[in-house]
Amino acid sequence: MDGLMVPMEHVLVVAGLLFTCGLFGLMLRRNIIFMLMSLEVMLNSAALAFVTAGAHWAQADGQVMFMLILTVAAAEVAVGLGLVLQIQRRFKTLDMDRANRLRG
């Protein structure tokens, strides 16, 4: 059943740690580029978890999900970068706290 060399739980823990790193990065960084990067880390940790689980069950599903997540992440980043460009041009800063004009 288990197609992995290491126990699945260990890898899942690593993925969880990565996810947490990303989450903290997202919350603590104020520069939108770094926020996007943290987002990527979070998405990829999920992808890692999928691949691990897929290997554990010896199924291709995990890798399929991995590819889908990659695509999704790419799309998010593509739009994100477009926004970054606009923000840089209009606000002259990438600091999200300083670009805050909406109340609340």
């Binding site: 990659l70 790419a74 799309a75 980043v77 593509a78 460009l85």
Partner: protein
């Protein structure tokens, strides 16, 4: 090799050495220059298209197993990819310099 070079290399320092090299002309302005938007566009296109290729890779390996059905599916996929490419090209996303699609000069974009 780098280490060897570090050991063997001569040390010389003068004022000019420590300045950015711009063909002998003194550097003007900050190196943090505003890049042309096309570079970002290319980056974004790459990200998108490179991922699309991943799906094609997956199909290519299993090409004979998937047969005509798979072929038709990937043909549809490539068709949409092609349409996206046509769309992007026609909007002038890759035209360095004057934009064709919008009929406006790039300065207006900045």
């Amino acid at each position: 090799m780098l280490g060897l070079s570090f050991l063997l290399g001569q040390r010389r320092a003068n004022k000019a050495t420590n300045m950015p090299f711009e063909s002998g002309v003194l550097s003007v302005g900050s190196p943090q220059i505003q890049m042309s938007v096309e570079f970002y566009l290319v980056a974004i296109f790459f990200v998108i298209f490179d991922l699309e290729t991943v799906f094609i890779f997956a199909w290519a390996v299993a090409f004979f197993e998937l047969g005509w059905e798979g072929f038709l599916a990937i043909a549809a996929f490539i068709f949409i990819l092609g349409v996206a490419l046509v769309y992007e090209l026609s909007t002038g996303a890759l035209d360095w310099g004057i934009k064709r699609g919008s009929g406006r000069h790039p300065e207006e974009l900045h």
